[in-house]
């Protein structure tokens, strides 16, 4: 149940990030995210290069799809938030994750789409914590061999999406 909720959260936030930094990949998002949550390792195998069809027609170059990377990084960030950040927030008496998750789950239900844009602001994530999340996202993106500029863009978008989710 927790995993399912976590996956939903990852998918929701990743969708927002993809919409921001690679909107052309949105039609692929549902299929990629479904496959990713089914078998994350298998899904990432395609990441390195394009699979060229012997009889297919197209261009010599391949695009680099960001969606799988976004999903992986977002997953990492959410895990970080549920473990490290949440722990650090315990002292302040706020359950960051459960609050955030509840809000996001509401957003994820299509019937309640209107609520998405009227969520109450998230006040628990400090700017230091956001920096920490951004750094973690950046490092993971680089680890997945994303070019530096794209890794920065992705990290910014992820941090921004968390702020948006909380605001």
């Amino acid at each position: 149940m927790v995993t399912s909720m976590q996956n939903s959260l990852v998918a929701e936030r990743a969708y927002a990030v993809v919409a921001q930094i690679a909107p052309e990949e949105l039609p692929l998002f549902p299929a990629i995210s479904t496959a990713y949550f089914k078998d994350p390792r298998q899904a990432l195998k395609y990441d390195a290069e394009g699979q060229d069809e012997m009889l297919g027609f197209g261009m010599a170059e391949a695009v680099s799809l960001l969606t799988p990377t976004v999903l992986v990084v977002m997953n990492e960030v959410i895990i970080l938030l549920t473990t490290g950040v949440a722990k650090s927030l315990e002292d302040e008496g706020a359950n960051f994750f459960s609050e955030l998750a509840k809000k996001l789950m509401k957003k994820f239900r299509p019937q309640k789409k209107k609520e998405q844009h009227n969520l109450p602001p998230l006040q628990s994530l400090t700017s230091e914590q956001l920096v920490q999340v951004r750094q973690q996202a950046y490092e993971k993106a680089r680890q997945l061999k994303l070019p530096d500029d794209k890794a920065h863009l992705l990290a910014d978008a992820i941090a921004g999406s968390l702020v948006q989710a909380g605001s």
Binding site: G58, A62, V63
Partner: protein
């Protein structure tokens, strides 16, 4: 990688869809190559696994051959027939096995190919991890794709599937009859948002494959290759390996090992050929899909942009092994579709080799099969064998070579040029035929004996093949040029080339059966020879027997008669439609681009059929007059006792036939000298008319002098006069036509100076 592809088109482009495409022809070539090679392999497997049965049959035949020789020496026809029939009975057990293996093998390859073809879409879906493109996930994209399908006017809409993880920018049309798919990679889907023009060009190209109906051919071609590998090549390798190990372990390093290696290199070459033909088939379809997509776009520009970003083959040899053509060549073809009308000499050579591989195996199969049909008299077996093999192979040559010739000639003439390379293509097919026959000759039943002698003795056969195919293709080109005016005035060329190809096939069946017979004579005599000094005798034997067979088979053959008539009737029949072509026209089917002006075909001299008819009639009447005079002279000078004998009657009859043939040759020569356009064909027509008059004259004069007449005698006289006449007139006409042409050319050159 960006290729520098020119974007220009100066003159209206020819419509490559007006004629059957290279994809069709190469697909046909692939099927022939696969079947020919499979026949070869299964014939060999049969030999390897049933050698004891073959040895038993051969020893039985040898026993009866002794009886045959004795009966021949004693001139005992009945005993000879009995011995021959007994010998034939000896081969039946092995023939049965061989026929079953060869037919079974080919059927097995075909059946496995069908199964693979049927399963290919499932394999593609599984291997490509393709999932249906969901309208909910990509509403804008699915609407756009549906719009493209409408533009493509597809009879049946494909299912769009996608591999979202595939980062390559690629599309693929695949499927089977009634179920087609277009696969889009994840990279291609993103192109929909980032570069709509390129996305559209790629998808339209894939839809063009569906519209051109080449998806089935493509996947059946691939399935045929895999079926060939699985049920022919792998068993061959396994059985060879077993044989190899057995030979090594039994220390039999001589004959057995040699035979295995001999077969292995042949099969290796044949398999390489099958693969190359497969690659050529897959390459050919791309050109047509490009052209179709550019038609829908009303511009080649978007496709050229995509082509400019394709990888080019790095090495020269990759051009023949790649399944995609060189993008630069594709770009050039988009601008200049005339390239799709040219006759490729390598293709002609490959086609010749494919047919050549099939020839000995089909002959062998026919021989085994006909042996089982005891209703066929022993003496007729060889004729049936040759005719059967020709009936199978001739239409294939006629369709492939004939269609290429039609297209090439059409394109050249419409552009106001002389068709180029037709004769050379014929020579290439001939060379291929000789090479292919040599390649699959190793254990042909007639090739027992010294293979070097057989090779030397088959050289005259090779020469005849080369000359025949050279002339044959030139004749098809002549027919096309004769029909061009009429074809251009019509709504579609289909009827013309279909009727033309039927005639061409008919002529080729007759010619090919004769060529096979010549080859059989050469290989049989080559098998008997023992010492190099025998070669000279062998040559003489081959020459005499071949000429003898030619004359004997020709004179009374209805097939030859029809073929001879087709030679001139097919091109000259265009005369009857001459009124249809008086005004210049703009056929919608000939060009892709709307042309501002009508086609102005090169000015050609008119047909002179009336003149040829008159020359033929006059020649015929001269013959009748001469025969009448001779008959009167003989009646007055030779006593009744002598002229009433059968020998005298036969002598008179054959002399009349010789005279008729000579006069027909004369008629043809006069006509050739006089008529500028298609002189040799007018000559043959005149000779035919003359021959008909001569036949009537001979029969009438015979009646006049108290002779009888019946249907059989009428047929014999008619076929002897006509076939004998053409047999003599044909080579003379060709030579005279060449001389006349050279003389006219040199005279024209003199005037120009």
């Amino acid at each position: 990688m960006v290729n520098n592809i020119e974007v220009s088109s100066r003159r209206p482009r020819l419509n490559p869809f007006a004629f059957p495409s290279d994809t069709d022809l190469r697909f046909l070539l692939l099927i022939i190559t696969v079947l020919g090679t499979s026949l070869f392999i299964y014939n060999w497997i049969c030999l390897q696994t049933h050698i004891q049965e073959l040895l038993a049959s051969v020893s039985c035949v040898l026993r009866h051959q002794q009886e045959s020789k004795q009966a021949f020496s004693a001139l005992d026809v009945k005993a000879l027939q009995t011995a021959d029939n007994a010998g034939r009975q000896c081969m039946i057990p092995y023939d049965r096995i061989q026929t079953a293996y060869m037919i079974g093998g080919v059927v097995l390859v075909g059946a496995v190919a069908v199964v693979i073809y049927w399963l290919f879409p499932l394999w593609n879906l599984w291997r490509g991890k393709l999932v249906p493109l969901n309208a909910e996930d990509a509403p804008e994209l699915t609407v756009y794709l549906a719009e493209l399908c409408r533009e493509a006017q597809l009879a049946r809409l494909p299912s769009f599937v996608c591999n979202p993880f595939n980062q390559a920018i690629t599309g693929l049309a695949f499927g089977r009859i009634g179920r087609y798919y277009v696969a889009l990679s994840g990279g291609l889907v993103t192109l929909f948002f980032t570069d709509r023009v390129s996305f559209r060009a790629i998808v339209l190209h894939e839809l063009a494959h569906l519209r051109n109906a080449d998806v089935n051919k493509t996947y059946f071609a691939l399935a045929s290759w895999w079926a060939f590998v699985i049920v022919a090549l792998v068993p061959f390798v396994v059985i060879s390996a077993i044989g190899f190990v057995a030979a090594i372990s039994a220390r039999r390093f001589g004959e057995d090992l040699y035979l295995l290696l001999d077969e292995a290199w042949r099969v290796l070459v044949m398999s390489a050929l099958v693969f190359l033909v497969l690659a050529a088939t897959l390459r050919a379809r791309e050109f047509y899909a490009d052209v179709r997509a550019a038609i829908w776009e009303n511009s080649a520009e978007p496709l050229l942009r995509v082509l400019a970003r394709l990888e080019t083959p790095k090495k020269r040899w990759q051009r023949v092994t790649h399944v995609h053509p060189d993008p630069r060549e594709r770009g050039r073809t988009l601008n200049e579709t005339d390239r799709l009308f040219r006759m490729d000499l390598w293709e002609a050579l490959g086609f010749g080799i494919a047919i050549g591989i099939a020839v000995p195996n089909v002959l062998s199969l026919m021989s085994s099969f006909l042996d089982l049909l005891t209703q066929i008299v022993f003496s007729n077996l060889i004729d049936w064998q040759m005719f059967g093999a020709a009936l199978i192979l001739a239409p294939l040559i006629a369709v492939a070579a004939g269609l290429s010739t039609w297209r090439t000639t059409f394109a050249a003439l419409v552009r106001g040029q002389v068709p180029f390379g037709i004769g050379r293509a014929g020579l290439c097919i001939g060379v291929g035929l000789i090479l292919g026959t040599f390649l699959s000759l190793s254990f042909d039943s007639s090739s027992l004996g010294n293979s070097l002698f057989q090779f030397i003795l088959s050289l005259p056969w090779s020469l005849v093949v080369l000359v025949s195919l050279f002339l044959f293709l030139r004749w098809i080109a002549t027919g096309t040029s004769a029909w061009l005016d009429v074809m251009i005035s019509s709504r579609s060329p289909r009827l013309f080339y279909t009727v033309g190809l039927v005639m061409v096939s008919g002529v080729l069946v007759v010619a090919l059966a004769q060529l096979f017979l010549f080859r059989q004579v050469a290989t049989t005599i080559g098998g008997i020879l023992e010492t190099p000094s025998d070669l000279l005798i062998g040559f003489a034997g081959v020459a005499i027997l071949s000429i003898g067979f030619l004359i004997f088979n020709t004179l009374l053959s209805p097939g030859m008669l029809v073929a001879f008539v087709c030679l001139w009737a097919f091109p000259l029949a265009a005369w009857f439609w001459r009124k249809q072509v008086t005004t210049p026209v703009e056929p919608s089917w000939a060009f892709l681009d709307p042309s501002s002006q009508s086609i102005i075909l090169p000015r050609q001299d008119p047909f002179r059929l009336r003149f040829a008819l008159i020359v033929g009639l006059v020649g015929g009447l001269v013959f009748c007059g001469l025969v009448l005079l001779i008959r009167i002279g003989v009646r007055l000078s030779v006593p009744e006792v002598i002229r009433g004998t059968d020998q005298s009657k036969l002598l008179f009859f054959y002399s009349s036939i010789v005279l008729a043939a000579l006069l027909q040759a004369g008629i043809a020569v006069i006509t050739v000298g006089w008529v500028r356009r298609l002189g040799s064909l007018h000559g043959l027509f005149a000779a035919f008319i003359g021959g008909c008059v001569m036949t009537v004259g001979l029969l009438g004069i015979n009646l006049l002098f108290g002779g009888g007449i019946d249907l059989h005698f009428t047929w014999i006289t008619f076929s002897f006069v006509i076939n004998g006449g053409v047999l003599l007139a044909l080579p003379i006409t060709l030579i005279v036509s060449l001389i006349v042409h050279q003389t006219r050319e040199s005279r024209r050159a003199g005037v120009a100076l």
